[in-house]
Amino acid sequence: MAIKRVGSQTVKLENPPAIISSHSIVGPKEGEGPLKAYFDLILEEDLWGTESWEKAESKIQEECIKGAINEAGLSTKDIDYLIAGDLLNQIIASGYSARQLGIPYFGLYGACSTMTESLSLGAMLMDGGFADKIVCATSSHFSTAERQFRFPLEYGNQRKMTAQWTVTGAGATLISPSGPGPYIKCITTGKIIDPGIKDAANMGAAMAPAAMDTLINHFKDTGRDPSYYDLIISGDLGYVGKDIVIDMMKKEGYDLSKNYTDCGVEIFDRSLQDTHAGGSGCGCSGSVFNGYIIKEMKKGKFNKVLLMSTGALHSTLITQQGESIPGIAHAVVIENKREG
């Protein structure tokens, strides 16, 4: 009998793990965006002294993880598990950063949903009593994603208006059984929902139904409604997906118009930065959560946050074979108060 389960898809943590430190690193373009004041490090150029974009992404993730560990005054030896993932084939950015760090490592592939997937699993491991210190991390890089999923950088194509801009950046969260918080209280794990969208340049629309499914099940399982939270924030639905979610959730009887937004909407200034439908990538919710949200929670602007990273679990190969894009969304509830 799973005593910590609530409803169909949600678990409530008996001993909510504390987030004892967090770190975020972003590329130059993200560093010019509206959230620039919140990031721990803004790179001047996105190769960061390495020979390739892939190596740069791995370095960004590695340095970000080290940053979180240093901030907590710990060393890599103190960490029991590293749970990380990214967008690249065989999640090499994470594998190669874990190679340098020497921490027992679980690699995840959840596409852009990785941040909350790693937080979910990390928090459950901790509540289960299996670890004292866990780092949950993820990264993405515009240039590695472009060449893997789209076109060469110097190719002169026009981006569609629904296309999103992959964030160059990483986020790492260090959790521990005790500490001043904020705390991970509750986890709703998403199902794969495939609305049949085949256009890889319209990810927001492809992922929005998965986000809504997770939200609705979260509200049903917990008996809460959207007004319980100061902030409900999805990972990278962008402008198109955000709009769809607000509209369709209203039809389902949930009013998200006041406290809901999306990391991909917040990270760039659409009018100045020509990012079309907003930001995307693992690093989008990774850097916005570990930069903006946690810092604002510590200041007390937000006390109850539902973070829901969204992922599209397709590949270029399977879309060429005519398959549609399956979406997924994992929600994690973070609160300043441990009780209740």
Binding site: E51, S52, R147, F151, P152, L153, E154, Y155, G156, N157, Q158, R159, K160, M161, T162, I193, P195, G196, I197, N202, A205, A208, P209, A210, M212, D213, I216, Y239, V240, D243, I244, D247, M248, H276, A277
Partner: protein, 147 residues
């Protein structure tokens, strides 16, 4: 969401998706494509003035335009022209050059055999396959129906 009607959702999401700037795109495609072609005419006339025959003029024009497309890609300019001009930058032969040079550059770090040389044709390879393949078929058909 399990009972989501896919057809209705496709329609709904299409409605929610921002549309391309049709008029601006058409005007820019016309301008960029037109300028590249007019420049091609300049080269043709210049080569003619050197007294070259028709075949040499055609070959020379191709080489010069392809070279310009390649160097502008190398310098990181052609992707910006393409962003503004869309099809106006893609359809002229300079765009064909861009489609070959950009993956060649992109995959340099994967080596000169499996990287540069193998990936060179990832975008433009189909043009050569269909172009050359169909030209042989056209030749064979003309042989069949010649008399």
């Amino acid at each position: 969401m399990d009972k989501l009607n896919k057809k209705e959702y496709q329609k709904f999401s299409d409605k929610k998706s921002p549309k391309p700037k049709y008029l601006k795109n058409i005007v820019m495609a016309f301008l960029v494509g037109g300028i590249i072609c007019a420049f091609g005419q300049v080269i043709i006339n210049f080569l003619k003035s050197l007294g070259l025959d028709e075949k040499a003029v055609g070959a020379g024009t191709s080489i010069i335009l392809v070279f310009l497309g390649a160097i502008l890609t190398g310098l990181g300019v052609y992707d910006k022209i393409g962003k503004v001009g869309g099809a106006g930058a893609a359809i002229p032969i300079t765009g064909f050059a861009n489609a070959i040079v950009s993956p060649a550059m992109e995959y340099k770090r994967e080596g000169f055999i499996f990287g540069v040389a193998a990936k060179m044709f990832t975008v433009a390879g189909p043009v050569l396959v269909y172009g050359i393949g169909s030209s042989v078929i056209v030749g064979l058909l003309s042989l069949l129906f010649r008399r």
